[in-house]
């Protein structure tokens, strides 16, 4: 990074620190903050979509769809996250590879399972083993998002379902009296009104999701906690920048980051609640009406 960094062992404390904090490894650490934020930004809407789908399915009048919705929410909520995170990506990966194997190597005569080994033809590998490293990383990242979305979607489904039942019955009856169809009254009356009831539960879920990102390393994605541990561990003189155990400082830094993230999202949720309460038949909506009157 800096020109004076070529021989760190001769440097004073301050320039040494400047060099140390700008090594390639530290750059990877800083980038991983972006990885985590990106993961959150993608996972949250996808999980919300899964949750909405799950809630609608478990309210459905079509029995199999209802069973599916109820099965999804109760099963996923009951399985420990860590078991789920180890299972879903590996099962998904092997399932896709098996499918590709059947399609692309029809004349393969060896079994796919050989003892402990899972062997598919080279063309069926996902990603292909000659793919560049970023493809492998992107693939791992995608399976991570999917696993997170499935788990958090199940919790969100329960929250949204509760919010749907919380919308006053009289609102729906009025919609029916106006001659709206089921579909119309669902989309025009129920959905716009339920968010304010769902928000407290969803904001809880968001906070849990923020804190769950260290699970990423289970899936091979190197997140901020991984790098903090790797960088903070004591380094002997085999490294260019030897130092004792500094994990405490790295983890303190993570603490600040997580608290700041929590604080920002808390403020965002407060604004959102205020916005959604406008004109609602709730205590908060009533307070807003009186304040503006």
């Amino acid at each position: 990074m800096f020109s004076f960094c070529s021989d760190p062992s001769t440097l004073d404390q301050l320039p040494w620190m400047a060099c140390y904090l700008t090594t390639g490894k530290h750059m990877a650490f800083y980038t991983s903050f972006g990885t985590v934020l990106l993961l959150l930004a993608i996972t949250a809407p996808v999980a919300l979509l899964f949750g909405f789908g799950g809630a609608v399915a478990s309210r459905s009048h079509i029995a199999p769809l209802r069973w599916f919705g109820k099965g999804y929410t109760s099963m996923v909520r009951g399985i420990p996250d860590i078991a789920f995170f180890l299972f879903v990506p590996i099962a998904l990966d092997q399932g896709l590879e098996l499918l590709r194997h059947k399609l692309r190597c029809p004349d393969w005569d060896m079994p796919v399972r050989q003892g402990n080994d899972f062997v598919v033809c080279d063309l069926a590998k996902l990603p292909l083993s000659n793919a560049p490293q970023w493809v492998h990383e992107g693939y791992g990242f995608t399976t991570a998002i999917l696993a997170f979305a499935i788990v958090f979607g199940a919790f969100a489904a329960n929250v949204i379902q509760g919010a749907m039942t919380a919308v006053p019955r009289a609102q729906m009856e009025t919609a029916e009296a106006y001659g709206m169809s089921r579909r119309q009254s669902f989309w025009r009356i129920l959905v716009p009104q339920m968010w304010v009831y769902a928000l407290p539960g969803l904001s809880n879920l968001w906070q849990i999701l923020v804190k769950a990102t260290p699970l990423l390393f289970l899936l091979g994605v190197e997140d901020i906690v991984y790098w903090a541990r790797e960088l903070g561990g004591s380094k002997t003189s085999a490294f260019t920048y030897p130092h004792p155990d500094w994990r405490l400082y790295y983890f303190l830094f993570l603490l600040v980051f997580y608290l700041a993230l929590t604080q920002v999202s808390e403020m965002a949720f407060a604004r959102l609640t205020r916005k959604l309460s406008r004109g609602q038949a709730t205590a908060a909506g009533e307070a807003l009406r009186k304040a503006s009157a």
């Binding site: 490894k25 080279d122 292909l128 083993s129 793919a131 790797e230 561990g233 085999a238």
Partner: protein
């Protein structure tokens, strides 16, 4: 939306008609200096990096390095996420049941115990070791209390904190720590465990095993392996 789903399915199932399957993915832990570690540029470095690159050059393979947590390093090999394990893994009968090993590229490496108390009685001590290593098995065998940690660095940190009496690991890993920290010392004699370090490959992959076996043999024959060992692992026996 439908066409998007369809397009992504096509993408997943159909892309990459390219051949040239000569890329071998090398799996390592990246947390066990001097065998393998991530250097300050964020690249994998160490004895095994240099050895692996040389072996790939000799076998005319294109190699790609991947890091993986030690705990899941064997499961990820057998499910095909990478093709070899080159991570300071000693050859043991238990591991040999699950995966295959190439011929060893180090002699059986001495393990050592490091603590902060001189004359510690190992049999009654609390000893830290990394989960799933031969050293962890050894501690359980001699009747001492075993405390397992998931990374090598944590086992040493546990000694410093006084959480355990001593740590057991490969001597080459512990030596620089003893040399650089005044209150750390070797306890007792070196212990010979395992049958040397080899590269792990899938049992269903005998061709790759043969390729690397041959490459290791050429390095043994012309003395380059010994030169590498003396450079990175000065206390180890040569071939």
């Amino acid at each position: 939306m439908k066409s998007l789903t369809l397009a992504s399915i096509v993408l997943v199932l159909g892309t990459g008609a390219a051949f040239a399957q000569d890329v071998v993915r090398m799996g390592t832990e990246g947390a066990y200096p001097p065998y393998n570690f991530i250097n300050d540029n964020g690249e994998i470095d160490g004895f095994e990096r240099e050895l692996g690159d040389e072996l790939c050059a000799r076998a005319e393979l294109t190699c790609e390095w991947v890091t993986n947590d030690w705990d899941s390093i064997i499961p990820n090999l057998v499910s095909g996420n990478y093709d070899t394990i080159i991570a300071g893994m000693s050859i043991t009968p238990e591991r040999d049941e699950v995966i295959d090993f190439t011929q060893p590229y180090t002699q059986p490496d001495p393990s050592a115990v490091v603590g902060m108390i001189d004359g510690l009685d190992l049999a009654g001590a609390v000893i830290a070791a990394q989960t799933g290593t031969i050293q962890a098995g050894y501690v359980a065998q001699i009747g001492a209390t075993l405390v397992e940690f998931s990374s090598p660095d944590e086992t040493v940190a546990a000694v410093r904190n006084g959480e355990v009496d001593a740590v057991i690991a490969d001597k080459e890993f512990l030596k620089p720590i003893v040399e650089e920290e005044a209150d750390m010392m070797f306890v007792g004699e070196d212990i010979l465990l395992g049958g040397g370090i080899g590269m792990g490959v899938r049992e269903s992959d005998p061709e790759l095993k043969a390729t690397f076996d041959a490459a290791i043999q050429t390095m043994k024959d012309d003395g380059t392996l010994n030169a590498l060992i003396s450079k990175w692992l000065p206390a180890s026996a040569l071939f």
